[in-house]
């Protein structure tokens, strides 16, 4: 069994040579927050961090990642969805269909780590992921809101957050 360090835990897996990290995460480790979009490192839906570096996991063989390298997926970005970017995404209602957003948030999180107060040019350079619904402008606004010195309240487009949390909603549905 090969080993990977994912979201702070050592995880064992077995996969054929050349299997991309993406499919090990999704099919073997049950971490489906990281998405398949193209398989060619074009769309960024599969973005994870490897030792902090944003990496398109659809073209990275899992066998090439050392067990000492720390992989972080969207599920491990924060324990409870409280990363400043996640909070900004909620405050600004960034996602539409949401499929690209794991990759978007991971790319943005790596950017903010390198540049806590990025310029528009920094954001342009770092955020090359594809979104088809068209959330790009809210993504830019969300990054700025989450950045050092960002003002979440002012950026929040006057959106009223009155509804119950999703956690609670899910529990209700399971009852």
């Amino acid at each position: 069994m090969a080993k990977l360090n994912v979201n702070g835990k050592v995880r064992e897996f077995s996969a054929d040579d050349g299997t991309p990290l993406l499919w090990v995460l999704r099919d073997q480790l049950g971490l489906t927050g990281t998405k398949y979009g193209c398989g060619l490192a074009q769309c960024g839906a599969c973005t994870v961090h490897i030792d902090g570096v944003p990496t398109r996991s659809c073209v990275r063989p899992a066998s090439s990642v050392k067990a000492t390298e720390k992989i972080v997926t969207i599920e491990g970005l924060s324990p409870d969805g409280s990363h400043p970017l996640q909070k900004a995404w909620v405050a600004l209602d960034v996602p539409q269909c949401g499929y690209c957003q794991s990759g978007m948030i991971m790319a943005a999180a790596a950017l903010l780590k390198a540049k806590p107060n990025p310029s528009d040019a920094d954001i342009d350079a770092a955020m090359t992921n594809i979104c088809r619904c068209g959330t790009l402008n809210r993504i830019r606004a969300g990054i700025k809101a989450a950045a050092k010195g960002g003002d979440m309240k002012r950026a929040a487009l006057g959106i009223e957050h009155m509804a119950m949390t999703h956690e609670l909603a899910n529990e209700v549905k399971k009852s």
């Binding site: 996969a15 054929d16 050349g18 991309p20 499919w23 480790l29 049950g30 489906t32 927050g33 998405k35 398949y36 979009g37 193209c38 398989g39 060619l40 074009q42 769309c43 839906a45 599920e75 969805g81 995404w89 909620v90 209602d93 996602p95 539409q96 269909c97 949401g98 499929y99 957003q101 794991s102 948030i105 342009d124 350079a125 955020m127 992921n129 594809i130 979104c131 088809r132 619904c133 068209g134 959330t135 790009l136 402008n137 809210r138 993504i139 830019r140 959106i159 009223e160 009155m162 509804a163 119950m164 999703h166 956690e167 909603a169 899910n170 529990e171 209700v172 549905k173 399971k174 009852s175």
Partner: protein
């Protein structure tokens, strides 16, 4: 509403019985699909509510703790109508929005209950506008039943009671109770027949900038999409359909592939496709790549884009035009005009390219066929499952999964559902998840149709338009997806934005004589409804040509439009709103040029003003877009803004890059490396003006896409003097004329 007394317990029990999987108690018909084996699904805490409340009616369930579950029939695919529809129900229900959640009924339940939830179809920007009336009545009916139940308990007339924020109050005695306390009694009450809806001026939730109900899980990776589904003992499948349209499988040599680790089966699907089933998707996909398939490429093996363009070009002057809109004798007026202007435009094939590729999971037994899939039309998916399985619809069920994008691809045709059922049928009792590779998705789209258009205007000596002719030549979507809806050779959808009148889609100009007709030319490429549909190219043809007339007659493009639009006040109002906000009457910043466009479609009026610059080397920069929308009632303005902004990402991606070309009978663009889209660096600022004039319900997700390209093309002309009539812009040289 004859079935309103069906209890929620029955509702859940019915759905549970549809599945052979265990954990019936946790079966939910919402987004959070049951029996997920993946790790993140195991995190749920103790349920906040024990016990199951009966439904008040088909739309509303109230739990003892006052939680309100609103049932939503239409699919959420990013457009936000899940939240908007819940707002409409909650508005009439007078419930506490902070206690609202939603769930999907299944298509099978809808069938069993005589379609109590109406249509599940989610296309044509119809989610809200087509169901607003009956979902509001559903909320109002439930409110009246809840009030009646409280009144019965207090032994007072219901007319003396009122409800607000999930609390019922008796005016005389000041007694109060909550919805949760009377819901069980309300469920037994015969629903009232006459239900009055609120005057819009009294709306409290509708019109508010409420946050979406489905955001948080989309930021943590918890949201389960169709391709994320895991069922016990599930296998994974990859598929390859003949890359040439109309081709078939000649032979398959699977001997080597069947020896590969994890590979379970190689299956012929129909006469044109082959699937590999394996334990993991990557093994299925790589085995499929290694599989020796010989294709019979059929009659289209040599078909190219040039062939199709030649066919369409011949249609521009052919005699078989079917009339869509006619006023007087345009041909005669043009023939005797002092001056004639003519231009030919074209629009290419495009793929929806949803971020999540087509996928579905199916489990088949001779008694039952179940399908889990992201779909824009659960009932159509159910019909596809029934046909493909050979079982009656009552023995099939579809569980709608969250869609990673729809844009029309997942609505009209459920080709991937038929495939997965055909595969599952070969492995009875085993759930199989089929995921298309991006390449498969690009090769086997249901493409935005191709058309060309010859625009002709006759002008008098003063430059007034005397005759206006628009000949569209090209592909009909209905011929591809619903040929039974073509009557007397006419596909009415071709004329989106060009009809004489109507609430759905009407032209915004009046010409003394007018002829708009269509020479149908259907290449052997499957066409489909693609976000914005035919409004996309019709608005380019019309709005750019109006600009051409303005230039030829030395008129300001806005001034000319205002002259031609006097009889179309709603169209004109949004155009004026966009122009005013953009500052049309003031000079643009140095080096920046403006272009306008307007149209009406999907029940709404839209307009845009684009500001662009073009460098000496021909590099285009789109700086700013001002967009105005009149959708009648604005249910959730912040979500309308999100749709308008998104429409420019989608519409500008199309204008700049969107093109699928054929060579040797197949599409050349097979992934995002050759089918690029607009990235954040190139995304202009978008300012949205919502002109909610009231009195009607218009769609929001699509109409604005149609003005993105023509506004930018007209601005490019202003900047360069170059009139671009063929898209995408990546193929065009933009250096100054």
């Amino acid at each position: 509403m004859s079935t309103v007394n069906t209890s929620r317990r029955k509702f859940l029990a019915a759905s549970a019985s549809l599945s052979t999987a265990a954990v019936a108690g946790s079966l939910v018909v919402g987004f959070h699909i049951p029996f997920i084996q993946s790790a993140q699904a195991q995190t749920s805490a103790t349920p906040a509510n024990q016990g199951i409340a009966p439904e008040v009616n088909a739309w509303v369930v109230v739990q003892p703790n006052d939680t309100v579950i609103i049932r939503i029939a239409r699919s959420e695919m990013g457009q936000g109508s899940l939240t908007g529809l819940a707002q409409l129900v909650a508005e009439e229900l007078e419930c506490d929005w902070a206690k609202v959640t939603t769930e999907y009924p299944t298509p099978g339940q809808n069938l069993a209950r005589e379609r109590v939830w109406g249509s599940f179809g989610t296309g044509g920007s119809r989610g809200i506008r087509d169901s607003q009336d009956y979902v509001r009545k559903g909320g109002a009916t439930a409110r009246m039943m809840l009030i009646q139940a409280a009144a019965d308990e207090w032994k007072v007339p219901a007319s003396e009671c009122s409800a607000s924020n999930s609390v019922i109050t008796h005016a005389g005695s000041k007694r109060t109770t909550t919805y949760g306390k009377v819901a069980a009694a309300a469920a037994k009450i015969t629903p009232p027949k006459d239900v009055a809806l609120k005057d819009p001026k009294n709306w409290k939730l509708v019109g508010k900038r409420l946050a979406r109900l489905d955001t948080i899980d989309k930021t943590t990776g918890k949201q389960i999409y169709g391709s994320d589904l895991v069922l016990p003992d599930m296998l994974n499948a990859a598929i390859k359909d003949c890359p040439v349209f109309g081709g078939k499988v000649k032979s398959v040599d699977d001997a080597a592939v069947l020896k590969r680790p994890g590979v379970k089966k190689v299956i012929r699907v129909g006469d044109s496709a082959v699937a590999v089933v394996a334990d993991t998707w990557w093994r299925a996909k790589t085995a499929l790549d290694a599989l020796k398939i010989e294709w019979d490429e059929g009659p289209n093996a040599k078909l190219s884009s040039a062939d199709i363009a030649a066919t369409l070009k011949a249609g521009l002057d052919a005699k078989d035009g079917i009339v869509g809109n006619e006023v007087g004798n345009a041909a005669a007026a043009i023939a005797k005009s002092a001056r004639k202007i003519e231009a030919v435009y074209s629009y290419p094939y495009q793929n929806h390219a949803t971020m999540e590729t087509m996928n579905a999971t199916a489990k088949y037994t001779p008694e039952r066929c179940e399908v889990w899939t992201p779909t824009q039309n659960g009932e159509a998916a159910l019909a596809a499952a029934s046909e493909a399985s050979g079982l009656p619809p009552a023995k099939c069920e579809v569980y709608k999964m969250m869609l990673g994008g729809g844009f029309g691809r997942r609505g009209a045709v459920h080709d991937w559902v038929r495939q997965v059922v055909a595969i599952a049928k070969e492995m009875p009792g085993v759930p199989v998840k089929l995921i298309w590779s991006r390449e498969e998705d690009m090769l086997h789209g249901r493409f935005h149709p191709v058309t060309q258009c010859k625009m002709t205007a006759g002008l008098d000596a003063d430059g007034n338009v005397t005759g206006f002719n628009m000949r569209i030549s090209g592909q009909s979507i209905l011929a591809s997806v619903a040929p039974q809806n073509i009557k007397d050779g006419k596909d009415p959808v071709v004329f989106q934005g060009l009809n004489a009148s109507g609430l759905e889609t009407a032209i915004g100009y009046t010409f003394p004589t007018l002829m708009i007709d269509h020479a149908m030319r259907n290449p052997p490429v499957p066409a489909g409804f693609w976000r914005g549909v035919n409004l996309n190219q019709n608005a380019i043809y019309l709005e750019c040509f109006i600009d051409e007339i303005a230039h030829a007659t030395k008129q300001d493009p806005l001034a000319l439009r205002r002259k031609l639009m006097v009889n179309h006040p709603k169209h004109l109002a949004v155009l004026n709103a966009a122009a005013e906000k953009a500052g049309w009457d003031k000079p643009a910043p140095k080096g920046v040029f403006r272009g306008l466009a307007q149209t009406m479609g999907f029940g709404s009026y839209v307009a845009a003003c684009a500001e662009v610059s073009v460098s000496d080397k021909g590099v285009l920069k789109i700086h700013r877009i001002v967009a105005a929308t009149d959708c009648g009632y604005a249910v959730n303005p912040q979500q309308i803004e999100a749709q308008v902004e998104g429409s420019f990402v989608y519409g500008l991606s199309a204008a700049l890059y969107g093109e699928c070309t054929l060579k040797d009978g197949r599409m050349m663009q097979q992934n995002f490396d050759t089918y690029p889209t607009l990235k954040l660096a190139d995304m202009p600022k978008v300012e949205t003006v919502i002109v909610a004039s009231g009195g009607f319900w218009g769609g929001v997700g699509e109409p604005t896409i149609a003005v993105a390209a023509p506004a930018v093309l007209n601005a490019i002309f202003a900047a360069t003097g170059k009139r671009i009539r063929d898209l995408p812009l990546k193929d065009q040289l933009l250096t100054k004329a």
